[in-house]
Subunit: 307 residues, 2 copies
């Protein structure tokens, strides 16, 4: 599909890409680049690529597809570094969780002779680093592309075909709408999860060991998102601020109203909300975006022999 | 272990108890009782008990152990109904998520010749009803007993031994502390989950179909708790009000501070919180209260053949 793919950044997403590119034979050659010599050595031990370098500019030379998979706050620096070395006609994309900010950081550095088409695969786990990736990560997940006005349709389609070959479904939208949607479905949930785990960690009336022992009663569901990569999520908060603040304010308004219903014993209002939310999960399961196994299938994960 | 066990209520918890009692041979006879004739018929189809009745008073006759597994708001009515029929020396317990309120509702009806020892197994899934139960539900989960002052130690130990035979670990504490701990580790997480799913459901800038399609990016983790039984959770909110309001107020205070850090671009503060919360999840996994499979093991649940 491509003669040479350069992966800039080899964490959870980059290393999953490396694995699926290899499995599906999507590139003649995979070049892996990351700033940290230790991480690069690990990527090499895992045989994730064909060539390895800590120099991003070196990595993109002669690459037909460049995929930048770094925390969104580093996008600008990477773009500046690789720009002079990009091959004419190359497709440059990224996997960042915010799009308007990434475009503002990268676009000014992009030479006119490359196709810059930002993207965001909605896939991940709470693990990070090159060991955490797996080839099936993108299966049946959505990948959102936000091609700038005037992007060449053939290049967009070539990138879309690449993601479909990785197992993803493709949507395109404008960057601002992407950032609003993701603020709701991804950024707000992570922030709320981080917050509740922080609240529990700070309590004095309930000890930390009690929080941990009794977490199976609900709390532990939040700890997965709150175990996500701190650098990535700091950058997301800093780079999608307006949309996140808008969603946070709606959430807090709704929570104040729910708190009032609890204080005044308004059982009907509670029951109405608690019934309505059930339907949302059913829809997610029907859309194939969640497993229907009780408790997320934790029992199956812990006892595969009993399945 | 007991000649006759009466299960009052045969939902997720009651039906899991029926299954583990049978598997472990903990009772000579299991009597199943629930108000709804339809649910009782289903329990009978599933062969969960040896005898079936919609009359709770009839069910407890000659039972050595009576386990009340109903929404906490119904505890008082059940206690009043069964009290005259209880066998002298019987142990009466419950599985309710709030303890002070259940004790206030049930204790006044309990005759002096029975052992009333409230309990709460910290186990469950988002599913409800007699079909949702499974014998392994209590395995390696904590069961908290809140024996009243003056409870006979032998009776408490007999009940503890029963729960251990179901696979649980036992803790005892006073009801007020239980309610405070559970407000944090269980009630607050459920309320927050219900709230965020409600916020998403109400949005207009982001469509419902977008929320559902893109939910794998974080949101869907919240939908599991928000799919829990509405009647049960309405009752929990109404019956553990003070502790829940206290935890909600701490959560909101912390969220306001986090929101401020986002608004003012305080990356260090965000990074510090996001790092600290990671450690909480590690502790929960080390304590054996969570699986370490990425993404809760959803991948394993969806593809058991690839494990």
């Amino acid at each position: 599909m491509f003669d040479r793919i350069a992966l800039i950044g080899i964490g959870l997403i980059g290393s999953s890409l490396a694995r699926v590119i290899r499995r599906e034979g999507l590139a003649g050659e995979i070049v892996v680049s990351t700033r940290s010599a230790g991480t690069l050595a690990r990527a090499q031990e895992l045989a994730l690529g064909d060539r390895y370098t800590t120099d991003a500019a070196e990595a993109v030379k002669d690459a037909d597809l460049v995929i930048v998979s770094v925390p969104v706050g580093s996008s600008g620096a990477v773009a500046e570094r690789i720009a002079p070395a990009l091959k004419p006609g190359a497709i440059v994309t990224d996997v960042g969780s915010t799009k308007a900010s990434v475009i503002a950081q990268m676009q000014p550095h992009m030479p006119p002779h490359v196709h810059f088409i930002p993207g965001h695969p909605l896939a991940g786990t709470e693990k990070s680093g090159p060991d955490a990736g797996f080839a099936e990560l993108f299966e049946n997940r959505w990948c959102i592309l936000t091609p700038p006005e005037g992007a060449e349709p053939e290049a967009v389609e070539r990138l879309a075909a690449f993601w479909r070959a990785c197992g993803s479904n493709i949507d395109t939208m404008d960057p601002e709408h992407h950032d609003m949607v993701l603020a709701m479905v991804s950024h707000l949930p992570h922030i709320i999860a981080y917050n509740i785990v922080g609240t529990a960690d700070d309590l004095q009336t309930v000890t930390k060991s009690e929080v941990i022992k009794y977490s199976a009663s609900g709390f532990r569901d939040f700890t997965r998102l709150a175990a996500s990569d701190p650098t990535m999520w700091r950058d997301v908060c800093l780079h999608n601020k307006d949309a996140i603040l808008e969603m946070l304010s709606r959430f807090s308004e709704d929570l104040a109203s729910l708190q009032r219903a609890i204080r005044w014993g308004d059982g009907d209002k509670l029951f109405e909300l608690f019934t309505r939310t059930r339907a949302v999960r059913r829809s997610i399961i029907e859309a194939g975006q969640e497993v229907d196994a009780p408790d997320f299938g934790r029992f199956v994960a812990a006892h595969p022999e009993k399945n």
